[in-house]
Structures are given as C-alpha cells and as structure tokens.
C-alpha cells in the first residue's frame, strides 16, 4: 500500500525501512486481531450457512448441512428478532436523551463558575462506571425485587406500589441501570471538551454581558458539538449490543423474555434452542447493523476534521 502511494524510487527505499519497523510493531496487534476478531467472525459466518439436519425421530444424531442463506431468511422472518430491534429502538429513544441530557447538564454545571468541589463530583459521578455492568445489574435487581428491596418497601409504605420488574416497567428499569452506569463516563468526555474551550471566548462573552445559561447555550454547546455527536453515535452502537442488564433481569423476571434484544435472541437461539446456525446468522446481521452505524460515526468524524486531512492527501 505505502509503496503504491510513493511515486519515486528514493522515497520508496525510505518508506521500506520505516515499513519494516512498522510491520514489526504492528504485528502483535494484527496477530491478535486475526485470532480474536477475524477468525471468530469468519467462523460465525461459516456457521451461519449451515444447519443441523436429522431424520426420523431425530435420535440417529445430527449432521451439518449447507443451507445457504436459509438461516438468514429464518432470522429475518422471525418476529421475535424484529421485535428485539423495536425494543432496542424504544430503549434508545428513552435512554439516549435521558443519559446524554443528564451528563451534558452535569458537565456544564461542573464547568460553570458556580461549581465547588469539582474533582469530587467528577469522581463521584464517574464511580458507577467503574462498577462492572454485571455487578451493577445484580445490585439493581436487588433494589427492584419486591419483598427484599428497601426502595420498593419505602415506596410501598408511602402508598406508592410499583413493581419495577413487571412488564410495564421493564424498559424504564433497564434504562435506569444504564443511565446510572454511563452518565459519569460521558460527563468526563463532555467536561474534557468544555475545558478545552479557549477561556478568552468565555471572558469575552462575560464582558459582553452574557449570562451563564446564555454562555452555555450559545458558546459552549456549539463548540463541543463534535463530542456530542460522537457520544450519541457510540451510545447508539452500545445500545444495539444491550445484553448484560436485561439478561440478569431475565433470570428473575419473566417479563424480560429470552429474545428481548437481538443479542439475547442470538444467545437464546444457541443455548436454549441449540440452533447455532440461527444464532450465528442473527449475530452476523446484528454485526452488520452495528458496522453500518460505525461507518456513520467515522464519516461524521472525518467531516469534522476534514480540512487538515484533505491537505495531507494532496501532498501524498
């Protein structure tokens, strides 16, 4: 690649020298990448093209037969899989504005001149993110379970009877766990972006008589828009892969069904129903959707930093 891009002999030699070092340094990455990403993805694609076939009563053992795109047709034709995407969409609609709204609001508050004990709040708000998702889900499940949860019993004694695990509240309950986990993380990103805003701009705004709120709305927000766009899109991709929290709730609440999200669908297909071909096809489709969204992310990223990149391309 690098050689193709280099027009002259002299440069080619130089590039080759650097290329050797680069190859050496990049080799561990590509080895691992091939072993833990490329190979499994390849195997998943392979699996998705086969189905287990048996005959008679099915006790003669099963054999793998090539089924082409049969598994894909079955996945797409399964309303449970499509419903998983609908639930994910509902989750995104509730979760993304709520979580990004709170982390942005909190970041602006911490960044404002009014804030005290900034480091403390930054750390305190980030702490939930340091708790593994699995542990967080277990803790929250305890807080949601009627009969043992102090929260439910306190609400109950105040006359409010809520069953957080009933089918009505499943989605908000899971959104709540995710908000708790991710607000602090995104807050740190926003806060870093806010800190990078040149102070002269803010001073100028103050001198011009802009209020704190006005400064935040008209100066800070437009300047951190790139990080806002990035966090939104990363959050969408993360939401697509929603698994741990609903899976834990599935263990103690039947209102979270086995195919609640596309990821859970793949899990259930493989391990509840022993249909590995179907699971692989669902996984591949999910990966494609995630890849499409990732593409959008990189396009957005490229658009933001387009000017320096173009000039770089011109000289190459």
């Amino acid at each position: 690649m690098t050689q193709l891009l280099s027009p002259t002999r002299g440069r080619r030699a130089g590039v080759r020298g650097r290329g050797g070092a680069a190859t050496l340094l990049l080799a561990p990455f590509f080895l691992l990448f091939a072993a833990v990403i490329v190979a499994p993805v390849g195997y998943a694609v392979y699996l998705s093209l086969f189905t287990e076939h048996t005959s008679g009563l099915g006790f003669g053992g099963a054999q793998q037969v090539f089924s082409g795109l049969g598994n894909y047709t079955r996945v797409l034709g399964d309303s449970a899989f499509r419903d998983g995407f609908l639930i994910t969409a509902g989750y995104c609609a509730l979760y993304i504005p709520l979580m990004l709204g709170s982390s942005l609001g909190l970041a602006l508050l911490i960044d404002s001149t009014l804030a005290r004990a900034r480091r403390f709040f930054q750390l305190a708000l980030f702490l939930p993110h340091a708790v593994p998702g699995l542990v967080a889900a277990l803790v929250w499940m305890y807080l949601y379970t009627p009969g043992i949860s102090p929260v439910v019993s306190t609400l109950g004694s105040a006359g409010i009877h809520v069953d957080f695990l009933s089918s009505t509240y499943t989605l908000p309950s899971i959104v709540n766990i995710a908000v708790w986990e991710w607000t602090g993380y995104n807050l740190v990103i926003f806060y870093a972006a806010l800190q990078a805003i040149p102070r002269e701009l803010l001073e100028a705004a103050t001198i011009d008589g802009a209020s704190g709120a006005r400064t935040a709305w008209s100066i800070k927000l437009p300047l951190i828009r790139p990080s806002l766009v990035m966090t939104t899109l990363f959050t969408v991709i993360g939401s697509l892969q929603l698994f741990t929290e609903p899976m834990i709730l599935h263990g103690s609440s039947s209102s979270v069904i086995s195919t609640w999200t596309p990821n859970m669908y793949a899990y259930s297909a493989a391990f509840d129903r022993n249909d590995y071909g179907l699971a692989a096809a669902a996984s591949v489709l999910l990966a494609l959707v995630a890849a499409a969204l990732s593409f959008v992310v990189t396009r957005f990223g490229a658009a933001r930093s387009s000017t320096p990149k173009r000039s770089g391309e011109a000289t190459a």
Partner: protein, 452 residues
C-alpha cells in the same frame, strides 16, 4: 426450575451470579467457539484403571449433595478418579454450558441431564448409547425411570431419582386458619380462597412463570400426552383436553389472584415464603431439601401432602429428576458407567448424597429408598415420614408420558409467553399454543418427522 436439585434457593444471589458467569462464559464462547470451563474429556485412554494408574474422568453436575458423592467415590475407589465441576442448574445456564462444550468438542465424560432434556441431548448426538453397558444395571431401576431413559429402543442414561409431585404447605398456618389440607384440585381452590380470606396478604402457592415444568407435571397427572411417536414420526399435542382442563384451572387461580405468579427459586419467591405470604409450594420430592435449606427459621412449620387429584384417585405427574449420561467423546465408558452406577444404585452413594443434609431425592432405585429415608433429617417437617408420602406418590406416576425431542425450544417459547401472565396480558392457553407452534417449526427445520 425442576431440577432434582435446584441450588439452594436462599442463596439466590449466588445462583444469579453463577448464571451470570455462565452467561458471560457462553457469550465469549459464542464468539470464539472455544470452550470455557474445564479442559474436557480426560487424557487417559485406558478404559479401566488400576490402583497404580487410575482413570481420570470429568463430571459436570449441579444436583444437591453431588460434591459429597464425588468425595465419597474418590475416597473408596483406587481405579477411577472423578474430577467434579459444579455447574449452574440446567435452566439457569447449565445446559447452555454443556451444549457449548458439546459444540466445541470438549464435553465432560459424565454429566447430569434431567429427564425432560434427555431426548434433546440424544437428538444432538451429545451422549453415548449405554444399551450394552446397562444390561444388568437397568433391572435395578423403577420401570418408570427406565422408560424415560429409553429412546428408540436404546438406553441413554442412568437415572438418579424418580420424583412424584407433592404439595408442601405451612402446617401452622393451615391449622391456625382451620383450613383442611386439599386432596382434590377443587378443594385446593377452596383452600386458596379460605386462606386469602383469612389473611389477604397470603396465597396458597405460586405459578412459576419462568419454568413450565410444573404445568407439564400437572398435565401429565391429568392424563395428557404432549409427545408421542408412531411409525418413526413425532406427534405433538400441547392442547389435548386434559391439558386444556389444567390450563383453564390454573388460569382461573391466576385471574382470581389466588396464587402468586413469580420466578421459581427467585429472591422474590423465597422472601415471600419467609414472610409467610406464600403458604405452600406445588413441588416434588427433591423440593424437600430445597425448602428446608431456604427457610431455616420455619423449622417444624412445614408438612408434605400428596398432590391433590382431579377425581379422588391418587395420581401424579413426574416433576424434575436427573440422570447421568456419558459424553459422546468420552473414551472411558467403563469408568463413566462405574461411577454413575455407584452414585445411583449403591447405598454408600445414596447415603453420601442424602447426608449432605440438603438433598432429598427419591431414588430411582427402589432398594435405596430406606437409605434415603434414614439419611434425611425430617425435623424441619415436624418429624413427618415424608419419604412415605414420596413413595406413595411415586407409585402413582402415570405411565406413558414421553418428553419431546426439543424441550429447550418448547419450554423457551412457553416461558416467553408467560411474560405477560401476571399482568393479564397473556394466558396459559396462549403459552401452550406458542409452545406447540415453536416445537413444530423447530422439528420441521431439523428434518424430524412429524405425524399429521
């Protein structure tokens, strides 16, 4: 969770933790399709060991008291050494772990499978045909247990327990409110109404929305035949008249708020039992150990009654029960069978399990019933002779029930359909319908013959 040995319900956090671990493990493995867990079948190639060079076999299970059984076996055997790995109970991730190991080609030599899942594992080709190994052994087991482990004329598993349905209830509460212990399902409903009237916060039992096995046992008891085979083809009927009757009955109890709808062995269920808000449990013999270890503070308050009947004639379905199977790649068949037979048909094996204090399996080998009875401390049940109740129940288990070839599919579809049962958004009938159509579509995909 109809396992012969649900993990101690009180430690639900532990159970969920294990489940979560299994989930995490399985997910990683789905991506990599390399196994998590043990290194699989043993390296020893010899089929029988010697004291100097024992055969090493691996064993995965979750039944209560299994660790004690393995310890006792290893202490008394020089030719075979068993390495035991405790896995989550089947429903809670254990089957996922086993299936995954099967797929990755490193399943253990021996593992536990419940009766209802045996046809699925046979159908996957995950277990070895034991027909020639159990020729002499099988005469030891009750005919019911042998029938459930015989598929297409071959023996596939060595049965551990044969558990009839029973009704566990809070004797103190029933006495306090002067409620007669129900012997028919009509009386059961009346008792539920009386109990709710006496204490509006208390219900008689729970409908488990995460596990259809109680509904299956109820249907079995009523004479239903969900699955059957004729001429090399499966008959699937989850909606026969007997099942319709059971479904309508439980739907009525749920609709009139006479039973709770909860997840089996969940924290919620345990808490509700601890607080006396649920005063009974429609379970099976193995549940005695589970209830006992879940509710240490209620010792002496509980009792066991035969399962209520439809027409006054004693009858029972089968609920749970485990078997020992040999993994398809195991090269130690002889040692595998030796260990499995020891665990299921010897007094020493049964004694080791029951004396763990947490297991109350009703042995599939009738000769071991006195051993189990002697080993289980019944102080929790006020000294009641509970094994006599289990024995009477086991004698009335209706013959002729067959489990389907993909119960994972059938049960998952039903469980998912139960999700809105508590809020009135779905019915038990709809769940049966969902189970029926999911099963048929799975059989069709796999090329299994279905009778018209």
């Amino acid at each position: 969770m109809s396992h012969a040995s649900a993990p101690a319900p009180i430690h639900v956090r532990a159970r969920v933790g294990r489940k979560a671990t299994a989930v995490a493990c399985a997910v990683v493995s789905l991506a990599l399709l390399s196994a998590c867990g043990s290194s699989g079948s043993s390296s020893a190639k010899a089929s029988s060991g010697t004291a100097a060079k024992p055969v090493n076999i691996t064993f995965w299970g979750w039944a209560r008291g299994t660790q004690q059984v393995v310890d006792a076996f290893n202490a008394s055997h020089k030719d075979v050494h068993v390495t035991f790995e405790q896995i989550p109970s089947g429903n809670a991730g254990g089957y996922a772990k086993i299936s995954n190991a099967v797929k990755a080609g490193n399943e253990p030599d021996v593992f536990n499978v419940e009766y209802q899942m045996l046809p699925s594992f046979v159908s996957q080709g995950a277990v070895q045909d034991l027909t020639s190994s159990v020729t002499d052994l099988k005469s030891k087991f009750s005919p019911a247990a042998v029938a459930l482990t015989t598929l297409a004329g071959k023996n596939w598993a060595i049965p551990l327990d044969n558990d009839a349905q029973v009704f566990y209830y809070r004797k103190d509460l029933f006495t306090k409110y002067k409620i007669a212990v129900p012997t028919t399902w009509d009386q059961f409903r009346t008792a539920a109404q009386q109990l709710k009237k006496a204490d509006p916060a208390t219900r008689i039992a729970t409908f488990f929305s995460d596990d259809p096995s109680t509904l299956e046992a109820m249907s079995w008891q009523a004479g239903a035949q969900w699955f059957g085979t004729t001429n090399d083809a499966w008959k699937v009927n989850l909606q026969d008249p007997a099942t319709e009757k059971v479904s309508a009955y439980w739907q009525g109890l749920v609709k009139d708020d006479l039973v709770r709808v909860q997840t089996s062995f969940s924290q919620e269920w345990t808490a509700s039992l601890q607080k006396g808000q649920t005063a009974g449990y429609v379970g099976a013999a193995w549940g005695a150990g589970a209830v006992k270890s879940a509710l240490p503070d209620e010792s002496g308050d509980w009792a066991v009654a035969p399962i209520p009947t439809w027409d006054g004639t004693p009858a029972s379905g089968g609920l749970g029960g485990s078997t020992f199977v040999v993994g398809k790649d195991s090269k130690n068949l002889k040692a595998d069978v030796e260990f499995s037979a020891w665990a299921t048909t010897t007094a020493a094996g049964m004694k080791a399990r029951i004396s763990s204090g947490i297991s109350s399996v009703f042995p599939a080998d009738p000769a071991l019933v006195p051993v189990a009875k002697q080993g289980f401390d019944t102080a929790f049940y006020g000294g009641q002779d509970i094994f006599s109740v289990f024995a009477a129940g086991a004698a009335t288990i209706k013959p002729g029930w067959t489990w389907g070839p993909s119960m994972g599919v059938t049960n998952t579809a039903m469980k998912d359909s139960f999700s809105k049962l508590a809020t009135g958004g779905s019915t038990i009938d709809q769940a049966l319908q969902a189970g029926q159509s999911a099963t048929l579509s799975d059989l069709k995909t796999r090329g299994v013959q279905v009778a018209k």
